[in-house]
Subunit: 481 residues, 2 copies
């Protein structure tokens, strides 16, 4: 893979996705240098190129959260066992998969501490101390951190023992406000995915079975990957006053009575990087949405030893860097090696400039996702780059959406559903009676879980796809990461 | 402290620092709403106002690190016990104060994992996998994260079980490069403290006794707090090839031989927020350096019910927010309450605007640190605010430096040193022979530790302040946080 000087790493081809999708995925995360495995099972090293994608995601989302009035805080890494246990549904959901700290230095702790799997209990503990009056509400808090869930089977970005995320936790005077916040945040996630990441998503509500531990309602955005599997890409939970009651959070209301506040939480994690890879990547490597690409334009000087070429390349870099993330690769690798390298890394635009281009006062832009070549006058370079980055965004969105539409099916009865489940990767729209028994049966017999009850309902039938009784809602069913 | 509606919180006076310095400090962190204690001993909740200071610190430092070619990464939260033990001095230094994870979910782990107290071992483990050739060097990595040290006695920001920091870890082809990096990073920290935080610092090297576990040299910047105690505010370590040998990191050199690389690490933490409080704060609360203040200008409308006042206040906010972090407080609290509130929060400039000011096309700027009032024409508001923020920065720096100079003493022999140690809070310059025995004796008999061997040496004598033998260097001695 690499010669003794490490020069050629990452230019070998990756496993085609048609041959082995899982291998294709892990080839990309390694060869695009997104991550490295560590000595701790399920915990990864996120390397600079991978972390830069996360930093770009953070920058965009954080600004959006702050615009909406949210404030960042930091909660402790540890949760005492007794605190985790305060809300019954919540502890049932999380206790089986937490890491326990039992010793501090040489001493055994009197009470075990778990490494936070999520921080509802910590926020509640704090809110109980600082919320006294309706004047203290709402509190719109968020934190960027990593959390730990002791997963048995792990995959880089998609499911790891430790992962990075943001977790928003808000507390409100009324149920209406809390519900509106829950919905608003789902919308923020959906728009971020569709606009900035160019990943089409389905917005909907989770069934009770798939709800977050302790929530009254969980909303989700679901994306479809290349292999037809769904990826839950962001969730937003409405808790009502359940946590407030469990943690004894009360406030003096406007009418002087003692009230329980209403809460929400919502999160998006590094798993979305897995979503980017599996939504846009191809057999040449990553394809990155321009908004989060660490390098948006890679400038490759052609025949760079010829006089003036390198100078011109650097001049263009200076011009472009005012508005774009841009680099010049003036290493002595061959142009072919460089093409392959930056395709692997998913850089949205390649800019080629050689002696003949300079003569003609032009350069060539090549789009990563469709290899379209555009000849551009250097006089209008900035406009052309902005235009082409937007074309990439729209192009990869359209491609992902077309694939999703193509791989979305309808089933009217159990036989049809089974036929699709067995033979056609993708999502299935089918009616549901609302009973857990049917949801369980579909999972057991066909290996499909309910992905969500979409906000945009369609009448694909009148009866439950499983039991044949009158249906209540349409559900998206599928296999999921 | 707070009435039933939580309205009056934070306006009561705090304990004067002359009366009880420790109480003054904790009063400020609570009343300025920087943090809240959590249910886990030594772990704090950093509240929005406190975290916003940290975010501003991050923004400035992170940009500076990136300018110098550093890249952010993320290492795992956990270190397997066997990995921690690979470098002998390092494990001796840290093993007694780590938190141990022994169970994942319901199962006992085969090998204990510690929650990282610092990440040298994790970076080395990664470098061993990815460094093969001199072409792979240098790697200039940094991570922003929290780490855990099982401290017995904790104080908010100054010494907590969990704290946030950045830890840089670099690996180089030659010892010279690594040494230059170590020195460069100390300079970055020193300039950041002196320029952005307005905290004067002494730059120097730690004695062997006070060195970081596993380092060949530790450089430090030391600041002096209000009470004369020193605060180690940033450190930079040179490791030579010690870690590389312990972790078997080798590379093919330019001459084709197998070589060991040379490493550094360096860090600055949330403890610097404690340093800001104790460098600049006064008996009215926090005094924040403009560069990191979450609010740089608070606009207080006077007689805000009078027509036009609120509109004018908002108009000024719109103008100022293009260049400054600015807010209007249009709540119905009294002006006196508001004055006290934003003094407690350390907002560098208060802008007062009332009906008479509007008539005269002016406003009043009041500087937090010296309460100087400046009448400013609204036509030149932006320039005046920029000017006054710079005046605040210079003013608080000069004040802190004057105090430090005043509280810095010279001792020529043990009797003098003891007299100062017992009666005069502050730092002491005194000569040292270089022997550990003298350093230990000074600590034991006078309660002073060596803070650093300053780069700027002065000849304050010829003989060791302790044993009277010929001296090698001048050392700053003091009590420290």
């Amino acid at each position: 893979m690499a010669d003794q000087f490490g020069q050629k790493k990452m230019v070998d081809a990756i496993t085609p996705m048609e041959e082995d999708f899982a291998k294709w995925y892990t080839d990309i995360v390694k060869k695009a240098e997104l991550m490295d495995y560590s000595g701790v099972r399920g915990c990864m090293v996120i390397e600079p190129y991978g972390f830069a994608i996360w930093e770009n995601i953070q920058k965009i989302l954080d600004a959006r959260l702050k615009e909406l009035g949210h404030e960042n805080v930091s909660m402790p890494l540890f949760i005492p066992e007794s605190l985790l246990q305060k809300e019954k549904d919540h502890v049932e959901g999380f206790a089986p998969e937490v890491a326990w700290v039992t010793h501090g230095g040489e001493e055994e702790l009197q009470e075990r501490l778990c490494v936070r799997p999520t921080s509802e209990t910590l926020f509640c503990d704090h809110y109980a101390r600082v919320v006294h009056s309706y004047r203290d509400l709402p509190k719109l808090y968020n934190q960027w951190c990593s959390v730990v869930r002791w997963e048995k089977t792990t995959r880089p970005f998609l499911r790891s023992v430790e992962f990075h995320w943001q977790e928003g936790h808000t507390i409100h005077e009324t149920a209406e406000e809390a519900k509106a916040e829950t919905e608003q945040m789902l919308k923020v996630y959906a728009e971020f995915c569709e606009h900035d990441l160019a990943i089409p998503v389905i917005r909907g509500r989770k069934t009770e079975k798939e709800q977050f531990a302790g929530a009254l309602a969980t909303y989700t955005i679901e994306a479809m990957m290349h292999d037809g599997k769904a990826l839950q890409s962001g969730t937003s939970h409405y808790f009502g006053d359940g946590f407030a009651r469990a943690f004894d959070i009360t406030f003096q209301g406007r009418d002087n009575t003692l009230c329980y506040p209403h809460q929400t939480s919502w999160g998006m994690s590094t798993r979305i990087i897995g979503g980017i890879i599996m939504s846009h990547g191809d057999n040449n490597g990553l394809v990155l949405p321009p908004a989060v690409a660490p390098i948006q334009v890679i400038i490759l000087p052609i025949a760079q030893h010829k006089p003036g070429v390198l100078d011109k390349a650097r001049e263009l870099q200076e011009r472009l860097k005012k508005a774009f993330r841009v680099r010049v690769d003036d290493s002595d690798q061959s142009p072919g090696w460089k093409f392959a390298q930056y395709e692997m890394k998913g850089v949205p635009l390649r800019l080629e400039i050689g002696p003949k281009d300079i003569e003609k006062n032009q350069c060539v832009l090549v789009r990563r996702h469709d290899r379209e070549k555009i000849f551009v006058s250097l006089d209008k370079l900035e406009e052309a780059v902005a235009e082409q980055l937007e074309a990439v965004r729209q192009g990869i969105y359209a491609r992902a959406k077309a694939r999703r539409d193509e791989m979305t099916y309808c089933a009217e009865d159990a036989a049809q559903l089974k036929e699709i489940a067995d033979n056609k990767p993708g999502l299935v729209k089918a009616m549901w009676c609302g009973e857990l028994a049917c949801e369980d049966a579909i999972k057991e017999q066909m290996g499909l879980t309910s992905r969500c009850i979409p906000f945009e309902q369609e009448a694909v039938g009148d009866t439950c796809v499983c039991c044949g009784k009158p249906a209540k809602t349409m559900v998206f069913w599928g296999k999921a990461y």
